[in-house]
């Protein structure tokens, strides 16, 4: 994984909009020129959802979309608990306390490589940023394949935008309403086994819930794929100081917030 010395900053962002995509999914647009400039695909920000001591700790969210010229960025998030609930109730004009850019970021493929991305549910959040970033850097969309899986059809968001990219897209829904019926990892593995996904000269990327990443990690180990996965964990500090967010790897425990969140799938030991 390539890394660079990142300078972490604190900034007070200005909330521009809170858009609800469905009852659980929200898009938060924040004005913060410094972070819109600094954020790389895979980086995340750590933010305080309110000023009180409950919830106490910051919450981590991947950069989802960045508009440097406008000085803004977007987060895409799902309401799963009190913190995200409070975040979804923010109003335009409110300030928000941000710590960013945190963590490492996805390695970029060479121009002559192919890439395969797998997104499970909210895993699409950082991968969309990555896709947009690559296309902006003139990476050939024909070399890109995206596997995108969700539970129910209504969680299939961003489809228009993804289609317009002219990349290859495989969809999976667990209830089978659209695309493959089942989990994204099953579809991915099927395509892999039937050689419709080529291993040579291909870089893999995955982001999604831990059980999905565990499967991806197993597949990567078995087939020796070079696959980067983005992990999540409870993160008290977010900057590598507390050793609270570690993941087991073949090289001992590593901090997801600082040594990751992007790891080589063959390195981590998930369970």
């Amino acid at each position: 994984m390539r890394t660079k010395k990142i300078m972490i900053h604190k900034d007070e962002g200005l909330i521009l909009s809170v858009e609800s995509l469905n009852e659980k999914l929200f898009k938060l647009k924040i004005y913060s020129p410094v972070f819109s400039l600094m954020a790389m695909p895979g980086n995340f920000c750590h933010l305080k959802v309110n000023e009180e001591s409950f919830p106490l700790l910051r919450r981590a969210f991947s950069f989802h979309r960045v508009e440097k010229d406008k000085g803004t960025f977007e987060l895409l998030f799902k309401v799963v608990g009190l913190g995200t609930e409070l975040l979804s109730r923010k109003n335009p004009g409110e300030k928000i306390d941000l710590l960013a850019p945190l963590g490492n970021f996805f390695s970029f493929p060479r121009k002559d490589e192919k890439i395969v991305l797998s997104a499970g549910g909210m895993g699409i959040a950082p991968l969309l940023f990555f896709l947009n970033y690559l296309l902006e850097k003139k990476f050939n969309p024909e070399r890109i394949t995206l596997f995108f899986g969700v539970k129910k059809e209504k969680e299939l968001i961003l489809l228009d935008e993804l289609s317009a990219m002219r990349i290859k897209i495989h969809l999976a829904t667990e209830d089978g309403t659209i695309g493959f019926k089942g989990r994204i990892t099953e579809l991915f593995y099927q395509e892999l086994k039937e050689r419709r996904v080529k291993l040579k000269n291909t870089m893999f990327y995955a982001c999604g819930p831990t059980p999905m990443l565990k499967k991806i990690s197993d597949i990567s180990k078995k087939h020796n794929l070079y696959c980067q996965i983005s992990l999540e964990n409870h993160m008290p500090c977010g900057i590598g100081a507390c050793f609270g967010c570690v993941v087991k790897t073949i090289n001992g425990y590593k901090r997801v917030c600082k040594d990751g969140p992007v790891f080589d799938a063959r390195e981590v030991i998930l369970d």
Partner: protein
């Protein structure tokens, strides 16, 4: 009037009473890009043991109402690598460096302390006789007067650095422990370490922490910490360093009133990385506004009758 924020432990002067707590500030480097470390009164390192420790398996932390639990398990690079890899960075700072020492036996404490002896860049030692997250040692030393005495005594005999004994709140009478470590030669006490706690992942009927129990910190424990500082201040003569749930200047001032002459910020660093330096500023502003010449004049000034 520029108020005098300086305070002292033994012969060591601190530019102000604000320290950052062990285990919440790594080895100082991580926060260096966010705040000016030289503004702090001092930095306390993550607990150092003789050998490197991997620590507990994840999950290691979880959030609770107005608090958090951690069971990191004393993850650290060991004293040798600490000296080689971490101390050089710390040495360059113009703030006091306090190395926090932990061990499983009195011998281990002594061994670590001996390795640290005379190393440039270190100003004081904080002896963690109160870690709730390791089976052997740690809290065991801090919860019985006899072993607390033995441990601090042995450390004192093997170091020329001033020694702070970090006490456990998981005891019947913390002031009693403070008294015996004072007798053993401790130059100061810091309290409190975390309260033993536990949280349950109800969905899966499992503990939220791999270690089952962990240490509770944050605003939830502030009332407990304040009471312990106050009680201890009625008993000991050595300086008290207060901590537990300090998040802002007012919290810090409350600990001073209760009898602490210095304070530490732990969980507060996670909530707001700038919290410690904001408190330094806040204390200064408060003293200016109230025309308090020396911050020390506030210590123990709680009116209890």
């Amino acid at each position: 009037m520029i108020p005098d924020l300086s305070v002292g432990i033994g012969k060591i002067k601190f530019s102000n009473p604000v320290l950052v707590a062990s285990g919440t500030f790594g080895y100082g480097e991580e926060y260096g890009s966010i705040i000016d470390l030289n503004k702090l009164g001092g930095i306390i390192t993550k607990s150092i043991t003789f050998n490197p420790r991997e620590g507990h398996p994840p999950p290691r932390t979880c959030e609770t109402p107005s608090g958090m639990l951690n069971a990191i398990g004393l993850t650290n690079v060991g004293v040798k690598r600490f000296i080689k890899e971490k101390l050089p960075f710390l040495r360059r700072l113009r703030t006091r460096i306090i190395v926090n020492v932990a061990g499983s036996t009195v011998e281990e404490y002594v061994e670590v302390v001996r390795k640290l002896e005379g190393k440039k860049g270190i100003d004081l030692l904080e002896i963690n006789i109160s870690c709730p997250n390791v089976k052997e040692g740690g809290i065991a030393f801090g919860s019985k007067p006899e072993s607390a005495y033995k441990c601090i005594k042995a450390v004192k005999e093997n170091t020329s650095f001033p020694v702070i004994a970090k006490l456990s709140p998981n005891v019947s009478d913390i002031a009693e422990i403070a008294l015996v470590v004072e007798e053993a030669g401790a130059d100061a006490v810091s309290l409190i370490n975390t309260l033993v706690g536990m949280a349950i992942d109800f969905e899966n009927k499992k503990p939220r922490l791999s270690n089952v129990t962990g240490g509770l910190s944050g605003p939830a424990v502030k009332p407990v910490a304040l009471a312990m500082v106050w009680k201890t201040a009625q008993k000991v003569k050595i300086p008290i360093i207060g901590l537990g749930g300090i998040m802002n200047t007012q919290d810090a001032l409350e600990f001073l009133l209760a009898g602490a002459s210095m304070i530490q910020i732990g969980t507060g660093n996670f909530v707001d990385p700038e919290c410690s330096v904001k408190i330094v500023e806040g204390l200064k502003k408060y003293c200016e506004e109230k025309r308090i010449k020396r911050i020390g004049n506030l210590v123990g000034k709680l009116k209890t009758k």
